[in-house]
């Protein structure tokens, strides 16, 4: 395992724990079931949620590995700013960063909207775990 992979492996576990133990997601995520890709430029992570629990995270998935419904894509620098606590203005949320930085929301946005409350909260947990880029 490379040092880089170890860092990412540690992040995956940290993020899984933060999400599965988060009071807000567990209180409101009974129907939070979907899969999405976090594209962080240097790496990407396919996150699969089931009933509010983090089922799996695939690092740098291959082109046909698994399906997902939407993508949150941004440069590594944007994700690093997003994960600061407190984040600088315009890096403080998915909508803010999508309107004002290079972050983009792609794919089936209806699925994002159906799960918006939990996704918004889950992305804020990156300020606890940091980002693996």
């Amino acid at each position: 395992m490379t040092a880089e992979a170890a860092v990412a492996g540690g992040w995956i576990e940290d993020f899984r724990r933060a999400s599965d133990e988060d009071a807000e997601i567990q209180a409101h995520g009974r129907y939070y079931s979907c899969a999405f890709l976090l594209d962080m430029e240097e790496h990407s992570y396919l996150v699969s949620m089931h009933a509010g629990k983090l089922e799996e995270i695939l690092e740098d998935p291959g082109p046909l590995d698994e399906r997902y419904q939407f993508v949150i894509r941004a440069s590594a620098e944007t994700w690093r700013n997003f994960a600061q606590d407190p984040p600088p203005p315009m890096y403080h949320g998915l909508f803010a960063a999508s309107f004002r930085t290079d972050m983009s929301l792609e794919g089936d946005l209806l699925v994002l909207m159906q799960n918006l409350r939990c996704v918004v909260r889950q992305m804020e947990l990156l300020r606890v775990t940091g980002v693996p880029v």
Partner: protein, 315 residues
Amino acid sequence: MAHLSPVTGRYVTIDVMGDECKVFFLENGQGQPLVCQHTAGCHNHQWRELLEDEEITKDYRVIAYDLVRHGKSDPPKNREWWKEEYRLTADYYTAFIVAFCDALELEDPIFMGSSFGGQVALQLALRHPDRFKAVIPVEAADYSPGFFLDWWQHPHANAAQVCASGVWDLMAPQSPDKDRWATWFYYTQGSEAFRGDLYFYSVDHDLRGRLEEIDGEKCPIVIMNAEYDYLTNPEEGQTTAEQIKGAEFIEMKAIGHFPMSENYPVFKEYLQQALQIIDGRAGAPVGGAQQGTQGREQQGEEDKGLLDRAKEKLT
């Protein structure tokens, strides 16, 4: 003994372009009327802390109404509103506010609104500069495209949560959780009005190229935009102010698009600066057209001095 708030709520029925509107408003205080407009898809509880702030209400009669179709102000009583798509226009919105102020016989009220309330404050300064002592557009700009979206009402998603979590990061992460969540809670209640409100906010409100028609010397204007507002950021607020004769601009730090609701103590400091500027202007000469360029420059210097003095006093 009951812990009663000094804030009282009443209804007043007004005519707005033929619509019979029974309007709910909260008020407290005495003196200079300060009329407060909530943000799109929301209601007057956003002003809850201002309404109970004795330091303000000892000198100001704070009045926060629910716009028709919001909070406890029902849709027009004399129209089959359910057969139409709701789209708020600048004509209707300004007519509502003037009719409300007329009904309460408010003399020289100061109008303050945030977001789509900030945008209508600019519209009032353009259309009715004689009816208001001053306006305080909060989170305002000449134009704010991009938010008239079908997502706010999409039948395949939970509209309450889309609206509330969709505006979540209009607030600053530094604002207290309890106040951000109270604001989130309000936003779960107004999804049917939110989209139609945003027709005004992102489409019908367009003052690009028209700001020079506003006379900020006749009707003083203090625009205040917040650092974490991604829709109308401080730079856009300042650019707007610079194009309005006699307008002032204040940047609010570490706060967002719902400042009065998400972090009132921080907002209050900036509001007091704005009110001091307006107080200072009340004694200043008006009639910019007669002053000429030099007069306006002198006025601008005086205003800058007022802003500095207000800041010094408050820090």
